[in-house]
Structures are given as structure tokens and as C-alpha cells.
Subunit: 321 residues, 2 copies
Amino acid sequence: MHTFNEFVKIFAERFAIDHFPKHPSTLYEPGDYFLSLGGKRIRPVICLMGNELFDEINPDTYHVAFAIELFHNFSLIHDDIMDAASLRRGMETVHKKYGSNTALLSGDVMLIRSYDYINKINVQYLPRILSLFNKTAREVCEGQQLDMDFEKQEVVLMDDYINMISLKTSVLLAASLEMGAILGGASEHNCRHIYEFGKSLGIAFQIQDDYLDAFGDPEKFGKDVGGDIRQNKKTFLMLHTLASASDDQKKELNELIKTNPSDKVEKVLSIYKACNVDEWANQLKEKYYQKALHHLEEIAVLSIRKKPLIELAAFLIQRDY
Amino acid sequence: MHTFNEFVKIFAERFAIDHFPKHPSTLYEPGDYFLSLGGKRIRPVICLMGNELFDEINPDTYHVAFAIELFHNFSLIHDDIMDAASLRRGMETVHKKYGSNTALLSGDVMLIRSYDYINKINVQYLPRILSLFNKTAREVCEGQQLDMDFEKQEVVLMDDYINMISLKTSVLLAASLEMGAILGGASEHNCRHIYEFGKSLGIAFQIQDDYLDAFGDPEKFGKDVGGDIRQNKKTFLMLHTLASASDDQKKELNELIKTNPSDKVEKVLSIYKACNVDEWANQLKEKYYQKALHHLEEIAVLSIRKKPLIELAAFLIQRDY
């Protein structure tokens, strides 16, 4: 069996091929550029891990892993257009570098290419994989739409926010694991639990991401702390504070959001702390983390095969194990 | 067997269902809106005709026909964003009505939905249909990119233009016919010829469209004559004139393109006529029309089964038959 890091290396080597024709370069070069920006390739790697949980690697898993990574990059290219983001992984986004029209079309053709990889697998699993892949792709679009909708809403309920996060980020992690499991011949029961493992882990990870953006050690976190606060982003922390703070605190918070003073981050953080939102967030993260582990326990394979996924979960959720 | 018009009616009735979930309506309502604008549904209908050329209708053909129509509408929604078009079939385009971000995402989810319909067919034909569908989808994107590239180029060679038109419009007609044929159990030989029939017919149709925009009877044509000239669009007529005109005519033409005088349409048309571009276009259209018919002749089925397609071709190319 392989650890997460071993699979990261194996996948990176296999993925370093031409995914597009050469011509017209105006259409395909932007896609190559974006893929060259790299990333951890978490989703295809956990697809491989979901496969190896049940058996020796089925070579078809690489085709599906390629499709997943292309789909993910397609969604980032289009999200960057919608968010008018200039930078991705420290480099220019596609629409910034090549223009919006080309970014739109390069994204489209990347999505289409992902279905070519799906179509390479043994026909035995094709309808089931295609069905899950499509359902997930649709949900990711729904998540992005809800995210844009929520930006315009004053009040967002926590359950709706969790649903949005789940669609926007967790379902692709969950489906990546399940597609690996399907290709490993896993039973319906096992498929269901590996999916739920991924979904809960994704939510725990997002809570942690929100937490670290507010309370993280800047050196370890690798990003500016307080970015979400500066951008008035709706996060787990902000929504919980708006729902649980006193009237005075809410008033102050809404004032800070409106007026954007230079000491906004500091002041919002002190309200967060007064509301114990850091403790609340850690508890919520722990709840989803434990939920994830519970689903992993339910999977009927030898315990030893679960070790890489347990280690990965602990690593992602930054716990000592 | 059915005529084109009979299939238009049958398809319209079948297609009038909900293609999307209700929620989130911000994502799916724009897609419903765009589909409600209607259209002749030529592509799915010729898919049905391609199927019936070989046998009784295979019910799976309706799934593929749905996928084709959704794909076509996805491409129109995204093209309208790229072309900054305000109107489609006399109504507001999706990005005009709902904003670019929602139009982008509604297009994405419509493309994804088309693969759900593909996935409904019998697994026996799934890999082959998916492969042709994907190849065609990729080519349509390539055609759109080349079209955008050509707008920025001063000189476009006729062969390159025909290649672009072929990718942007003809391959989807061709593939629609071939997917129908595949589901009708057609041989490789017959599949190849039905594809080429559709491809040549598509080019003939585009030549005619360019011709009618310049020389058509406004009442019969249903659009303003001279629209392409006013917008400085590169068309078959313009490219041929730029390639075959005298130096003086070229100079005048380039001046008209640059200065956009109020009598531009009139003046460009008189250069077109002086260069006999109308006659040339009719000959070129006839060449592709005959090529299409030749491929239809090569298809090994009873002649009587070809009648609806022969009638359709004659109707599309506006010939008496």
C-alpha cells in the first residue's frame, strides 16, 4: 500500500503528459498553463487511496483520477472568472493572462476533456462512474451558485452555509474516494461509507481553513491572517458570531463590515473571542472529524488497509496521531 | 418513416419536460428560460432521421437527441457571453438577463446535464457515442476559438475559414446524424458517409446563410440584409472578394471597413457584384450540396429510406425538388 505522499509523487509523474492537442494553441495553451501551476492534486490522490483501500490499484483508477483533476481545474478557471480573481497559486489566473473569453472556452474544453478520460475505463464500471461524476459536477456548480447567492444575502443560516460548503468542496472529495472504491469492487455499503467519510472530512477541513484564517499562526498558515475578515467573507466564524453575539456586538460587527476601518481585523477578532467562536469552531471541526472517522470504521475491510486514510485525515485536520 | 417536420413536432413534445432540478433556481431558471426560447431543434431532429434511415427508431435515440440539444444550447449561452450579444431569437440573452456569472455557470451545468442523457443509453453503444459526442464538443470549442482568433487577423485564408465553419457548425450536424446511425446499428462505412453528408450539408448551408445576408430578399430571409457587412464580419463573400478583387477594389473595401460610412452596405454589395462573388458563392454552395448528396448515395440502404433526408437537404439549401 501507499501513503498519501507516495501517491502524490506517483500521480504527479503520470499526470505530467500533454492533455490537449497542440492546435489551436490559443485554446489549449491556457489550459496547459493552468495545469502547470500545480497543486497537491489532493482529489485524484484520494481517488487512488479509495481504490487501494479495497484492492491492488486498478489501472482504470488513473483515468478517473485524471478526469477528476481536469474537472477540478476547469471549475477553478471558471470560478476565477466569476470571482474576478487575479492570482491563483501566486500566478496570474487564466482570464487575467489570456482574457475572459479564452478562459471561459479553455475551461469548457477542459471539462469536455475530463469525459474523455472517464470514457477510457472498462465499460463494466462506465455507467456508474459517469453517473457519480455527473452528479458531483452538477453539485459543484450548485455550490458555486449558492456561494454567489449568499454574498448578496444579509442573513445566511448555518445549515444552508454547511450545505453550500458541502456542495462546493466536500462532494468532490467524497466522490473521488467513492469512484476509487467503485473501481476497487467495493460493496454498496462500503461505497456509501467512504463517500460520507470524504464529505465529513471536507467540512472539517473547511472549518479549520476558516479558523486558521482568523486565529492561525501566520508562519505556519502560509497566508495572511484575517484575509476573510478584510474581504467581509461569510465564514463559519462570521455566521456563528452573527447568530450568537449580543445585540451590541452584532451592531459593532455590522458597523465594522460597513465602514471597513484599518483596525477591522483586530476588532472583529476581539468580538470573535468574546463570543468564544474559536472554541465553538474547534468543537464543530472535531464533530465532523469524528463523524468522518466513524464512517471509515464502518467500512468492512482489514483495519490495516485503513491506515493511510486515517493518517491523511489526521494530517489534513492537523492533529497529532 | 417520418419527414423532418413530423420529427420536429414529435421532438418538441418529448423535449417539453423539466431538464433541471428546481433548486437552486438562481442556477437552473436561466437554463429553463433559454430552452423556452425554442428554435427548430434541427440537430436532435436529424439525429432521429439518421437513426430512422437504418431502422425503426431506437428509443435511446431520444436520450442522445436531448443531449445534443442541451449541448447546442450550452454552446449558444457561452457564445453569447463571448460575443457580448444582447439578443437571441428576439429575446434577451442569458448573460444580459441574469448576468455573466450566472450565464457562465448555467451553461456549465447544461453541458454537464447533457452527459446525463448520454448515460441513459444502452451500455452497448455508450463508449462509442460518448467518444463521438466528446470529440464533437471539443471541435465546436475549437471552432469558436478560431472564429474569435480570425476576428483579430487581417488575412484569413479560405481553407482556414472553411475549416473553422466546419468545426463551429458542421461537425455537430454531422455527429448528430452519425450518433443516430450508430444507434441504428449502421456499419462503419454507412456511419462515415452519413457523417460526411452532414458535414458537407452544413458548409453548403453556411455559404447560403452568408449569401442571403448579402443578396437575400429581406421578406423571405427574415433578417436585415447586410448585417454581416455592417458588422465587418468575415464571411465567405468577404474573404473571396478580398482574395480576388483588383487592387483598387481591395483598397476601397478596406477603406469602407475602416470608415464605416452610412452607405457601406450598398457600396460593398456593388464591389461584391463587380467581383461576381454571388455567382461564385452559388457555385461553391452547389459543390458542397452535391458532395453531400454523393455521400448519401454511398450509404447502403434502400433508396426509399433516404427520401426524408434528400427532401431535408433540398429544403435547407432552398432548392426546388
